[in-house]
Amino acid sequence: MKIRFSLIYPFFLALVLMLLSACSPQSSQPGSATPTPESTTPATASKEAKEIVLATTTSTQDSGLLDSLLPVFEQKTGIKVKVVAVGTGQAIKLGEDGNTDVLLVHARKSEDEFMEKGFGINAYDVMYNQFYIVGPSDDPAGLKQAKTAKEAMEKIAANKSSFVSRGDDSGTDKKEKSIWKEAGITPEGSWYLSSGQGMGETLQMADEKKAYTLTDEATFLSRKLGLQIVMQGDKSLLNPYGIIQVKSSSKQEEGMQLIQFFTGEEGQKLIGEFGQATYGKGLFVPDAKKR
């Protein structure tokens, strides 16, 4: 199903664009779609193009952050934001293919590559949250005694305790792989389970299998299950989010407005407040700055 939708979508979009440009010849200047790097000059897009696509990771969607931010933005600007929540790998691919206007992702290395290859403009830091290593409450590998995330992973591997990996090339997955690499361990064997699914499903699986896993804070807090935090606070477990405008997007102005909202005063305040009512603490720490 996913394949069909993903392939049909660009065709459909192209069809709609063709129809639009055919209907309003005076407003369609082909030049308007060409990127104007580092600028926010209004594109000559027609009035009705008040809809942009935001490709983001499942974590921002599943945690409910977008549900609390986007309505405010939509009300303020009248721009409708269509959210495509996928893994960071797919989100970045959507950007490369020009199938989205803005990216909100967390995988700094891939983001930098994306910028270097010239697919994006105007990259900002938006916020960060934490990763936790969580596991069964009896903590069979004794991770609570570990001082760093690296040491914790070493204990898991030495003890051959079950560990569920996202294995889906997402930002969380990349973070996990980087810690293994740092520890000099190639995780393999029957204790290492690669689920290839989202964070929620992976947590569920870890709960069922009494296994450890690496999770982002927001998704973990939103569905506690029988797991508990066994490692947190290490520097390598910080998870910065970036927002990037896609260069080939035809909606530069609207895209920039969205970025300005996320990195601006109001958006940052909303990000900091998000989750306080439900969890007693904010899930994301705002730290907007231009890269």
Binding site: I3, G87, Q90, D168, D169, L193, S194, S195, G196, E208
Partner: protein, 220 residues
């Protein structure tokens, strides 16, 4: 996508799970279908309606129910079957058995009268009657099996939920396609899709050849 050992492993597991499920479905579905096609009893109409409804069971629904049953917190949690190939087989058996039952029943009903009378007058036991009628209705039963196989091998909702798409354990072709797509590797997903189609094509071709041969044999 190249045909790496990993890819073969995924294809092989798909075939194993699907074939096992369909075989179990055949063992239950053909006798049940033949029985329903041959005999009438009170409440049969309700059963038939239920079977036809179950032929269109949403796989995701089956997945959720099997998940909840097998979950560590569920009634069958002690079996420790969730996220295993066995769990996928259980879900698929639930999906394919009604299809095989329903289509067997329809095929048997179409043949029933002519053979029923003859076989009965020759003094056949109920078991012999069943065997005879199944043999006679095999054309329709074959197509039921083909339909069930196609459903099972292309199904994703249930196997994703109860299998969990775990690499080297429960990753099958359909869940691998979803993963490839999610990681942005559309071409890998498409290629796997073509493998899936080719297998379906081969399988149905064999079925077709078998059916045609039988039809020829019968005409002679």
């Amino acid at each position: 996508m190249m045909f790496t050992p990993d890819v073969w492993e995924v294809i092989w597991l798909s075939l194993q799970v699907t074939t096992t499920s369909v075989l179990i479905g055949i063992l239950i579905g053909i006798p049940a279908g033949a029985f329903l096609g041959l005999y009438s009893f009170s409440g049969k109409r309700l059963i038939v309606i239920l079977i036809y409804t179950c032929m269109g069971l949403p796989p995701v629904l089956v997945g959720v129910v099997v998940y909840l049953l097998l979950s560590r917190y569920g009634p069958l949690g002690s079996l420790d079957l969730l996220f295993s190939a066995e769990a996928m087989i259980i879900a698929q058996v639930i999906l394919v058995t009604p299809i095989i039952t329903g289509l067997t029943m329809a095929a048997v009903q179409a043949k029933e009268n002519a053979y029923w009378e003859t076989a009965k007058s020759l003094g056949a036991s109920p078991f012999q009657l069943m065997v005879t009628i199944i043999k006679e209705a095999r054309g329709g039963i074959w197509s039921g099996i083909a339909a069930a196989y196609g459903r099972a091998i292309s199904e994703v909702g249930a196997v994703m939920l109860v299998g969990g798409n775990i690499e080297h354990h429960t990753r099958v072709m359909t869940t691998a396609i979803i993963l490839e797509t999610r990681t942005g590797n559309f071409s890998g997903g498409l290629q796997m899709g073509f493998v899936l189609l080719s297998i379906s094509f081969l399988f149905n071709s064999f079925m077709m050849v078998g059916m045609l041969n039988q039809m020829k044999a019968r005409k002679r």
